[in-house]
């Protein structure tokens, strides 16, 4: 039986469920010309949700529904940034969607449901809740990817995403069933307790392999990355922005819940699996990105390599490591919103700014946005004093502290390779002259977009120079004072 306290623990999620339904209904009564009302309402909904996550609840850890739902400080940070990234996405997306007549009301409600799935995933205390959150995220996202109905590329990406995520979910469920068989419970805390004493360690280990596969798919780590470049390229850019930022945050929580909270006794096994995925992701991601001409695809491969870096923190397998991984995920989400935000800014009706060469001579056209993009690129490359550098330092430190010096050295070699393609974008913007024949680049005049994008980019500098408080917050979430 549940009581009222259980409901209080999950107020933000309940609120978001209700709000998303109301938004869906409300939009039915709005005409195409009044879509901006939906837009601003959706943003308001998310801002209130941020408020509820941060201030709406008593501090500390709490569980609800017999441990099905866990609220702790890690969940607080990750939810906060999932919601923030979504707000940024909404603001940046509006002119793009409006110009392409894609500003459907469903875009907003589907995104809100997907976000709800992410929040549930972050707070899952039970294999079932976790699976529920995962699917609640995936299904609306598949629809979002296919939103641009006229584009064959979108439909292809959507189908690919659907089939592969169904496969991954299947594998994950299969693993869960084995774990259930070995431990007799779906509750992560109970699994943790029984893992140490189980009579079937092999079955448990077998299940663990499938869990890692599921996690790898969610992050897009090699060799489970095949969907990522196609989805990034095929989806409308706002959707790509969403997929590349918020889900990565919740994936950290998923890894933490499954691996540390659930299978902590088998850390020796999963640490080495994650290390292998990290090496593969960094190598394949960085090398494949060099060959890309399409900016979105390049960023997709860069995502893969960044997930490899994030795995350094996870593979350390201790609180320090998870704190570093959380820090990395927050940093990564904020960098991606800038990079895709620039693509959105430069796109206009009938013109997608998708190729790297499309950025030629941007510094002449609009030096401000060229500067923002350069900040994002240098940050992605991990050059100080930007945010990305500190994220890299933290995961490298976690790996070295965790006794994986070799992994840190592999990672820096990968970082050197990765440097090249980020620099190439800066080169195109700053050193190349625009083609005579090409249409001149024009930045969007939409004011909210300009402000949010600029603040977002400046945050990459500010959070670099003053990374102390955020890192403290991440460490506190895992009980390091």
């Amino acid at each position: 039986m549940f009581n009222l306290n259980d409901l209080l623990v999950m107020i933000p999620e309940l609120y978001l469920t209700a709000a998303a339904c109301v938004l869906l209904l409300m939009d039915v009564f709005l005409g195409d010309s009044e879509r901006n009302i939906t837009h601003w309402t959706a943003i308001l909904v998310l801002v209130v949700a941020i408020y509820l996550v941060v201030f709406g609840q008593p501090p500390g850890t709490a569980t609800a529904f017999d441990g099905m739902f866990v609220r702790d400080r890690m969940a607080e940070i990750l939810k906060c940034f999932v919601l923030t990234a979504t707000v940024i996405m909404f603001v940046l997306a509006r002119p793009y969607l409006r110009d392409r007549k894609l500003q459907y009301g469903e875009f907003y409600s589907l995104t809100l449901f997907a976000v709800l799935g992410l929040l549930l995933l972050i707070s899952a205390g039970n294999l079932l809740t976790l699976y529920l959150g995962l699917e609640l995220f995936s299904l609306p996202t598949i629809a979002l990817v296919a939103m641009n109905r006229e584009s064959g590329l979108s439909s292809e990406a959507s189908i690919k995403f659907f089939v592969l995520s169904a496969l991954a979910s299947g594998l994950l469920l299969y693993g869960m069933s084995m774990i259930y068989g070995a431990s007799g419970s779906l509750d992560l805390a109970a699994i943790y307790r029984s893992a140490a004493t189980t009579a079937h360690p092999h079955l448990l280990r077998y299940g663990l392999v499938f869990l890692v596969v599921g996690i790898g798919f969610k992050f897009g780590a090699v060799p489970f990355h095949m969907w990522l470049p196609d989805v990034y390229e095929g989806a409308a850019t706002p959707v790509t922005l969403f997929i590349s930022s918020a889900p990565k945050l919740s994936a950290v929580a998923m890894a933490y819940r499954l691996l540390e909270s659930g299978m902590g006794a088998m850390a020796g096994d999963w640490r080495i699996m994650l290390a292998a995925l990290a090496v593969l992701s960094m190598a394949v991601g960085n090398i494949a990105a060099i060959a890309q001409k399409n900016l979105k695809r390049m960023l997709a491969y860069s995502t893969i390599s960044h997930m490899g870096f994030l795995f350094l923190g996870l593979a350390a397998g201790n609180a320090e490591g998870f704190a570093a991984a959380t820090f990395y995920a927050v940093c990564y989400a904020l960098m991606e919103t800038v990079a895709f935000g620039i693509i959105l800014t430069l796109a206009r009706a009938g013109f997608e700014c998708e190729m790297i060469d499309d950025l030629k001579g941007l510094n002449r056209r609009s030096p401000w946005f060229a500067g923002m993009m350069a900040i994002a690129m240098f940050s992605l490359a991990g050059v100080p004093p930007l945010f990305g550098f500190f994220a890299k330092v933290m995961v490298l430190k976690a790996a070295i502290d965790g006794g994986m010096l070799w992994l840190a050295i592999v990672a820096i070699v990968a970082a050197i390779i990765g440097l090249y393609y980020y620099l190439r974008v800066v080169k195109v913007m700053y050193f190349d002259q625009p083609d005579e024949t090409a249409e001149p680049l024009r930045a969007q005049a939409d004011m909210p977009l300009r402000w949010v994008l600029s603040l977002n980019a400046l945050a990459l500098i500010a959070l670099g120079l003053f990374s102390g408080p955020l890192f403290d917050w991440c460490q506190a979430a895992f009980g390091i004072s």
């Binding site: 704190a323 510094n363 030096p367 240098f378 050059v383 100080p384 004093p385 550098f389 500190f390 330092v393 933290m394 490298l396 430190k397 070295i400 502290d401 010096l405 840190a408 050295i409 820096i412 970082a415 050197i416 440097l419 090249y420 620099l423 800066v426 080169k427 700053y430 050193f431 990374s467 102390g468 890192f471 403290d472 991440c474 460490q475 390091i480």
Partner: protein, 503 residues
Amino acid sequence: MSNWPILSLLIWVPSLGAIPVLLAGNARPRLARWLSLAVSVITFAISLLMLAAYHPADGTMQLQELHRWIPGIHSTYHLGVDGISAALIVLTTFTTVLVIGGAWEVIQDKVHQYMAAMLVLEGLMIGVFCALDALLFYLFFEAMLIPMFIIIGIWGGPRRVYATFKFFIYTFLGSIFFLVGLIYLYHRAGTFDLPTLWSLPLTMEEQVWLFFAFLIAFAVKTPMVPVHTWLPDAHVEAPTGGSVILAAIMLKVGTYGFVRFSLPVLPDASHALGWLIIVLSLVAIIYIGYVALVQEDMKKLVAYSSIAHMGFVTLGLFIVFMLLREHADPQAARLGVQGAMVQMVSHGFVSGAMFTCIGVMYDRLHSRLIRDYGGLAQAMPWFAAFMVLFAMANCGLPGTSGFVGEFMVILSSFAANPWITLFAAFTLIIGAGYTLWLVKRVVFGRVESEHVRTMGDINLREACVLGAFAAAVLAVGIWPWPLTHLMDASVAHLISQLTATKV
């Protein structure tokens, strides 16, 4: 006055001063020029204040500032200067003023961005010289690449993209191993604080691994043979101001890294592997000297001569252990380090001046090839006078700053091993060879080309820039005492750190 955060001001006045310069925009180049000149002059003035507040007799870190920065990894915002860094900071602020003055009419395209990049670069270089936290040091050390990348890439020559990529990737490759080394040190010491790392005991095996990790970073930056190949390309393609900053200051960042990290943190590995550095330094002095001899491009020639001169710095730094631990001769060791330091400052002035001279010629004829010139002494007598003076300094003529440092290093090397002296002294011949030959072909002789005949002499602005360099070169050459006095106690302090073993 003494409570002011002078070092923070030195870092942040130019770094943040770049913002109004950028805001001046492309449409108002005059405003951007004057603003950036004002910022750089103010920074220079602050650096003189810093010099006044510094007590040379006490060689330890002074004017320290310590604030919380990233408590989660025990990294602090810790600044401080000793005699060595004070001298390099003044060199930086001095050179930046001249570079901004030198770029006045030369840079016509996107003036505001050029000037802003220079100011940011200045702030970051000063930051390197006063950081007392390893992570903070690394931050400045790496961040310098961004403005330099942009400077070479936008305002450089025809192969600028190749050169700037090579520069960035080469340096990044070197320094990222340094980062892993630093994180390992943190793993051992639990802090990034440099004074703590200086006294951290380390086993020989650890020291050797860390030594190589650090060596890659600093050897690329210095640059030492065989990782010097980015430098000629970067110099040839960079605009004049970029070359000046690169040669005068950025190269010193590499050797400064040796002084702050390799020597005091890893004294035993530095002792054991000192022979490697000494050999590489001698190779740089002799082999690169010969390479300089055959260059046809003036900038390349000066770039190679820079590598040879930096060989003296690394030589002076690493013979210390031989002198201290094998010959028990701290006096000679002190002379060696002192010489290396004077050579760093002197090379800053001389190479900066040489590149400025080449820039002056390039602005008139748009060629850097030696064969396009000849007989400049007739067309540009004033310029020729300056050029000859700097050339003399470059080959180490007594009375110029180039002599002092080289002589001190050669003297101390004699106490270590006369063979080293023999090879090092080759520079006096080769250096004179390539520099005098350059001067002969460019400045003297008959005017062969019509273009040269019509070249106007230097204007007032160029005369001021070159005059300032000349004054500095002569001052250090004739009366080096203020400079050596400034660094003396700090060098003695460094030597005392190196005497004890850490194993």
